[in-house]
Amino acid sequence: MIKIVFFAALREQLNCAELSIPANEVSSIADIKTKLADKNEHWQQVFSNGALLCALNHDMVQADAEVKSGDEVAFFPPVTGG
């Protein structure tokens, strides 16, 4: 399984903090995004936001990064700390 986590405004928009996806159904971050957007119209709309950032195992990555079982993938809005 691949663990997917969401943060901040994105988590609130989706009303979901985390979920899991079977690793054999996806091979990249882009696949995961497509799969999440396919859930329903609301998720489709939320994931159409091009500003969303993505991390794989705590490192920022782009959509072409490959994923495997046991990975943790995070989606979140641009950061606003400091």
Binding site: A51, H58, M60, A74, T80, G81, G82
Partner: protein, 154 residues
Amino acid sequence: MNNNVKISIQTQDYNLAHEVALLEQNNDIDGAVVTFTGRVRNKNEGLHVSGLFLEHYAGMTEKSLEKIIFQAQERWQIGRVSVIHRIGQLAIGEQIVFVGVTSMHRQDAFAAAEFIMDFLKVQAPFWKKELTEKGEKWLDAKQTDNQQAQQWNN
């Protein structure tokens, strides 16, 4: 990470004098200590702010700060580095973030402290939710923060 680096993500406040003392303790080679403190402002984008809520991505936050500090160590001759960032509910005037850097001479400490703050702003996974007169609002990232960090690559 080595003994010269402190990273702390915490809900409780910090004591500036204590943090400076830690940077200076048993450290006779560094003549310069530069510190930055970020605080909660009472106004943002024209709206009165009554407080902030800060969320972060535990695990990734520490990793991203380690990377930023490592890059600063590669770039400048610096001694000790301390980064503290608070999370949770914060009131007006409270301290949010601390960056402290020591070096033999001031230029390296000034530059490294600014570099660390600039990249913390755009890479460390923290998010602020403002409590304003018009309700709660997640802050939008500022393009100027990206430009500020980008300057270091020029």
